[in-house]
Amino acid sequence: MIFPTIEFAAFFVVVFVLSWALMPHPRAWRPFIVVASYFFYGWVDWRWVLLLTSSSLVNTVAARVIATSPSQLVRRRALIVAIVFDLGLLCVFKYLGFFVTEVDDFLDTLGLGSPLPLLQIVLPIGISFFTFQAISYVVDVYRGDTRAASLGDVAILQSFFPHLVAGPIVRANELLPQLRMPRDPRSVLAGPGLFLVAGGLVKKTVVADELARRVVDPVFNDPLAHSGAEVLLAIYGFAAQIYCDFSGYTDMAIGLALLLGFVLPQNFNRPYLALSLQDFWRRWHITLSRWLRDYLYIPLGGNRHGERRTYRNLMLTMLLGGLWHGAAWTFVIWGGIHGAALSVERWGREHVPGFRLPRWLAWLVTFNVVCLAWVFFRSPNLSTAFDMLGQIGAAGPSPLVTLPMVFLTVAAILVQALPNGWWRQAESWLVARPVAAQGVAFGVLLVISDAAVGQQGVAPFIYFQF
């Protein structure tokens, strides 16, 4: 089930009412929210629920063993078993097909034929997200950062429907304490909740889908048929599209959770205002970057073992971050560009003290490096990516470069520069209006969003495939 659909609207109204009705009775509320989340997840294919349930079960048992065993060896083994299981799930569903094909092709080039069976594996939506949450949970229990929770709580942590499909990647100590706190139905954070849902919807339908349909998809499908101006607009347009698509989804997820009384972590903080790549990664997909930092970069040694190891760790972290998105060389290169740029920045900071680019130039360089990496991220293969880059200087007519598309691209980037206070003032003003006026305002926004989408329906969110 995806958020901007009739089915989800009906589902959410029922869940909203029952959730607040059952909130004073935690023993009823917990199974209810798990069942509701499983219903949400299993809407397309109920077998995926079995996968999610098995993940919760294995990680609950492992965390219990880690929390209760006095033996360090047993604790360590339980941690390893859980991580192997989690990564195993990810490998089977996400990487096995790619790996088998690559090995099979390699054997074929050696003249050994094609001995391996080609695998047809359906990627369960959200598996990368709930798997990373599971790993962070058992590692946190192992580190003593969080307490081992009951099966029901772990199931809620993994399956809570607002964040289940595409994040934010929530840590146990962010969500589980909230399950233990009583929530007051008289003070729902409606302003930010409704605002985030409405804003996310507009970002997705009015900006992301329009840019995709009118510029980005046509150009990336056939770069050689387009002029340099169209290619450039498609590259910057994709930067705007992916931001509005992904942050739009996250805004809706955070907003829906707020309406149910839960606070999820922030995932985006005006990323295209970043003045360096390091700054960018503190603003873009924040919950993934901190996951990579805490569960990959630091365990690899971080910056504690000399300069060379630091660069190696940075590169490894970003390459694996790229691979997390999918088994394709385009994602590896995307991660490689970010890893290399982060390394160059770090080298510059450490070896050229006092050197600082002017702010405007730092922004320009950072933004364009990010956009260069997006070319590989968006392209279906490497040759398309190189065609895109090679076509930037091409002359020719540019019918796709229209004022509305340029405006949408620029607006999606510039709107991030608006002060946060303005949004809060608007929220406060709206929440102070009568219920009917608020309802009409949000209803009108829904009508506009649906009209923007047109008959084609909402395109799938980009991050669903990860």
Binding site: V13, F16, V17, T101, L118, S187, V435, G443, L446, V447
Partner: protein, 321 residues
């Protein structure tokens, strides 16, 4: 804010959206797979749409559609829904009388302006035409209308859409890849018929002919119709076989129409997940047992190029075996 007030805001917002978007609700319902959800959405949406339409609540949405540049994709009283099968005879006579049209041959300086459309199957075909055709001879624009079918015009009317697309884009040639979502019952003379009934097939041929007529401009524009391939599921396979016979009949009647036989040609008409392409074994079908993968889409694409090469010989240079 108390939860009750929040619920009030949500309910008012959804009510406003439903009233002003009632047409969209009905369309969304028509596009759903048959089942309880579809029945519920339509049983609420249709009466709501009647009321909203009578009051004039459609007008703001119509204005917004205009502002966003969206043409309406459904209409009542179109020939696709209500026409007569005599169109097949009329077009066939016209085809027999007409001389074979001469088409402008593509060159690297002036590539062929090709429009690829249809249901979801059109996506990969359009994508692969770009890399399978001789470089620089095709200028491909692909618009896939996912989930659409000729037997579900209440959700998406292909006659109307073909007319709009041909008027606005005026391509030199069209590839139409569609059929995987057909199989809805059709009403002929007040009776409902299923895909295996001869009446359904005659009606389907008529609908294909109506859409082809809009696209071919009396044979001045060639249209390459790519029907669904064999499916893993026997029931689907039987439907596709019947449906494709109907498409062939329509194509024979309409000047400028070409049938690309992906059903009988690929793997000798036998379904297989895996196929060998250029000596390399690839996973050719997606897990649904119908759609091609990106690798597998090379096969229908090459068959399309082979069909196109009869009209545009230069395109045959790289079209595979």
């Amino acid at each position: 804010m108390p939860a009750g007030r929040v619920l009030g805001v949500i309910v008012v917002a959804l009510a406003i959206a439903a009233l002003f978007n009632s047409e969209a609700i009905v369309r969304a319902g028509e596009g759903m797979k048959p089942g309880t959800t579809r029945d519920i959405v339509l049983s609420i949406g249709r009466p709501l749409d009647d009321v909203a339409g009578a009051i004039g609540f459609h007008l703001p949405r119509d204005g917004l559609d205009l502002a966003f540049g969206h043409d309406p994709k459904t209409a009542s009283g179109t020939e696709l829904e209500e026409g007569s099968t005599s169109i097949l005879q009329k077009l066939r006579r016209r085809r027999e009388a007409a001389a074979q049209a001469e088409y402008r041959q593509p060159t690297p300086k002036r590539p062929l302006d090709l429009f690829v459309t249809g249901d979801s199957e059109a996506s990969f075909v359009g994508e692969r035409l770009v890399d399978q055709a001789p470089r620089g001879l095709l200028d491909v624009e692909t618009v896939a209308r996912n989930g659409t079918a000729l037997t579900n015009p209440a959700f998406f009317n292909w006659e109307l859409n073909a007319k709009q697309e041909m008027e606005s884009r005026n391509p030199e040639a069209v590839v139409m890849a569609i059929g995987g979502n057909d199989g809805f019952n059709v009403e002929v003379g007040g009776e409902l018929y299923g895909p295996l009934d001869p009446e359904w097939q005659t009606e389907y041929a008529r609908r294909v002919a109506v859409v082809l007529r809009e696209m071919t401009r009396n044979g001045k524009r060639p249209v390459y119709w790519v029907p669904p391939p064999t499916a893993r599921d026997d029931e689907f396979n039987a439907i596709y076989a019947a449906q494709n016979r109907a498409v062939k009949e329509a194509v024979r009647a309409v000047p400028g129409a070409r049938y690309v036989d992906v059903y009988n040609t690929i793997n000798g008409g036998k379904y297989s997940d895996e196929l060998t392409i250029d000596g390399r074994r690839v996973l050719a079908r997606q897990s649904d047992g119908v759609h091609f993968t990106r690798d597998g889409a090379i096969l229908p694409t090459r068959l399309t190029l082979r069909a196109m090469a009869r009209d545009y010989p230069a395109l045959g240079r790289k079209a595979g075996p």
